[in-house]
């Protein structure tokens, strides 16, 4: 589906100059100062645009151009600062930067929607703030990684582009550049981004429908599952210690232990999906495969590298750090989905998909920690899995609402 505000990632390469990475925050300083200065007339223009749109029913062309350039520049600056882009951006917000923003020309807007625009935008603003704060964590890890390896992790780059896209959608909506509400769905925002093959994959058959009653009591209904998950986690802790010792000695986790830990990982994902309103029905207690609409496909046990096994806990630290802002976003997804479903009996597709992507990331992190796999979790918000090859697609046209 074509969205009226689109992020276009023109440079699919992940390589970065270590020197510019090291000084990135300082290099971005003049841009940040310029952005702050620019935001003063942009704020005045936004208010003028609001009044004009209330009267005329559409944002006047000169104001649209000015505000679009400001928003585009904002995306350029933060893409550079957060290491989603490689090259130093220009100061005028002109199109053509490697992480760019495309905005449709002005269109007719309903005056009632314009009148209450700031109020209507406040839920999206909350999510934009949480995602934006999360991008700082992603940027810090990307910084370390780029310094060490000379390239950014693809998953982090994807998530940063997604986050900038969502913030841009929110900005465009509040500045009346579009009347389309920000869409949180990763697969709509990033149609070209795909996940590399991974032994732990999301399998979703959810139909967005929610029973209002089970949504209202969602947290309380989850109580027996939380108790059971806690009891199960004690057993899982013992199992993982045994699995770790065996994997160190034999180079792989025995099938029985693998099955047990995989079921635990799957069950934790089912429960999380249920609590966070990402999934609809009350989950089963066994963590069986294909037992829930937001499910995991987990491959059979495979040989694991002993060195990775030995330092698994330390290696998982970056993934756990990324998990923190994602967990915050998931809570917001849950609150938003909960309120929406209580009123309409269904969850918004965008929020559900973002939630599902976070559940998948958390499940991959759990699987990595629990020795179900030695493949590192992939932080991209994409849902679709690429058939083969770990490299990202050559051209990444990113559509955001």
């Amino acid at each position: 589906m074509q969205r009226s505000v689109r992020v276009v990632v023109r440079d699919p390469g992940l390589g970065q100059s270590r020197l510019t990475v090291f000084f990135r925050a300082l290099l971005a300083l003049p841009h940040l100062v310029w952005l702050v200065l620019w935001s003063v007339p942009a704020t005045i223009a936004a208010w003028a645009g609001w009044l004009a749109t209330l009267v005329l029913g559409r944002l006047p062309e000169p104001l649209h151009r000015f505000l679009a350039a400001y928003l585009r520049y904002d995306v350029h600056v933060f893409a550079y600062l957060f290491l989603a882009a490689r090259r130093f951006p220009g100061f005028l917000g002109r199109p053509g930067y490697e992480v760019d923003l495309e905005i449709d020309p002005p269109a007719e807007q309903r005056r009632l929607g314009v009148l209450f625009r700031q109020l209507l935008a406040s839920p999206a603003a909350l999510l934009a703030i949480v995602i934006g704060s999360g991008l700082v964590w992603f940027a810090l890890l990307a910084w370390w990684s780029a310094l060490a390896r000379g390239r950014r992790p693809a998953g982090i780059r994807d998530f940063t582009a997604y986050g900038l896209g969502y913030s841009a959608q929110h900005g465009a909506y509040t500045m009346l550049l579009t009347s389309r509400y920000p869409h949180a769905g990763p697969q709509l925002t990033l149609p070209s981004f795909e996940l590399p093959p991974h032994p732990v994959r999301l399998r979703m058959t959810d139909d967005l429908r929610r029973s209002r009653l089970t949504v209202f009591f969602r947290l309380l209904l989850a109580l027996p599952h939380l108790v059971w998950l806690w009891l199960w986690s004690i057993a899982a802790l013992v199992a993982v210690v045994v699995a770790w010792l065996v994997a160190l000695a034999l180079g792989s986790v025995p099938q029985t232990l693998h099955r047990f830990l995989a079921a635990y990982t799957r069950y934790a994902a089912h429960v999380t999906a249920f609590v966070m309103v990402v999934g609809g029905p009350f989950p089963a207690f066994g963590g069986g495969a294909r037992a829930y609409p937001v499910d995991l496909e987990i491959d059979q046990a495979a040989p694991q590298r002993r060195l990775v096994t030995l330092f698994r806990l330390f290696l998982a630290v970056p993934a756990l750090i990324l998990g923190y802002p994602l967990a915050l976003a998931l809570v917001l997804v849950a609150v938003g989905g909960w309120l929406y479903a209580l009123v309409l009996g269904r969850v918004p597709e965008g929020l559900r998909d973002l939630g599902a992507a976070i559940v998948r990331y958390q499940a991959q992190t759990n699987a990595y920690l629990l020795l179900v796999t030695d493949r590192y979790p992939y932080s991209s918000p994409a849902l679709a899995t690429r058939a083969s090859s770990e490299e990202p697609a050559p051209s990444l046209a990113v559509a955001t609402s």
Partner: protein, 372 residues
Amino acid sequence: MPGDLSLPGIDVGATFGAEHVAKAKRYERFLYADWALAQVALLVTLVLYSRRGAAFMRESAAGPIGTGMFLGMLGLGIVWLVLLPFRIAAHWWDRRHDLSQLDYLSWLVDDWLVLAAEFLSICLALLVVMGLARWLGERWWLPGAAVFVGIAALFTFAVPYLDFTTKPLRDQTLLVAATRYERELGLPDIPIRVEKVSGQQKLANAYAYGIGPSRRVVLWDTILQDPFGPAEQKAVLAHELAHHSQRHLPKGVAWFALFAVPSAWILMRATRRRGGMGAPEAVPLALLVVTVLQLALTPAGNLVSRRMEAEADWKALEVTRDPDALEELMVGLSNTSLGDPSPPLWTQLLLGTHPTLADRVAMAHAWAEASR
């Protein structure tokens, strides 16, 4: 307590104050109406849920027992929602009469936490019943009842060890009195603890709990304040210790066993048409059956409870030898809780876990007469 004890009549207006009695009756009349309407709403809700509740099975991806738990929790949730206006009305009434200082939000949070505990309890209960029913078929009811009696006994024994909210009693006068009462009642040293409730409500209360080594007596801090003096506080203490000396808590578990066995059998029979308790479809009906059984058995349970309370009062009189203190205690309790000293017979049968305040004062008079 003498089996042939007949209570003398007392002048309720003169003892408790005519104006206060009228006010207490007005206060309780509202609560009785609220309670009666709530029971009607409860039964109607559960009848509807027993017919339609199974439709919610499509909202569960769990197996039969998990789905049964889900339906059980959902039923309790619906009941909670339906009864919420009645509980809010009762809380509003308490606040209006200055009996509760809890604001509505805190009250709602507390109510929500109680619901959370109920959700977990019903899950445990259904896990036992449905697990046994799927294993033993229709013969589940006897071992099922035995398991519930075991859980009740374990719960009664263990709960005092899970109490982290009370503090030891510091009042030396009361502690000395407690030691004397324990000796006279043939009890070992029973820990006396204090629970802080002032700031939330004005009601005064005390309770005995635990079995064997876990026995405790807990006094609400409101009973250690005005209008209750040392003599009344000692009467309360003796009353609660008497519950332990008369083994009322293990006897309560035994009474529960007596009710649980036939109740389990009735439940088995009633749910047979829905596939028995092993099938999740039977859970909504089971909720209705259990509620009806509880309502039907409440008068009998209250009768047992009133008998035990009267026995504890009598024992307390024997060790305190102070009938005036018991009378003052009852007057004080009526004043602080706006309790009607002589409520209508039907409310006493359905809701009265203790003898009426008037009867308890009459018992103090009877003891004084007998001891002359």
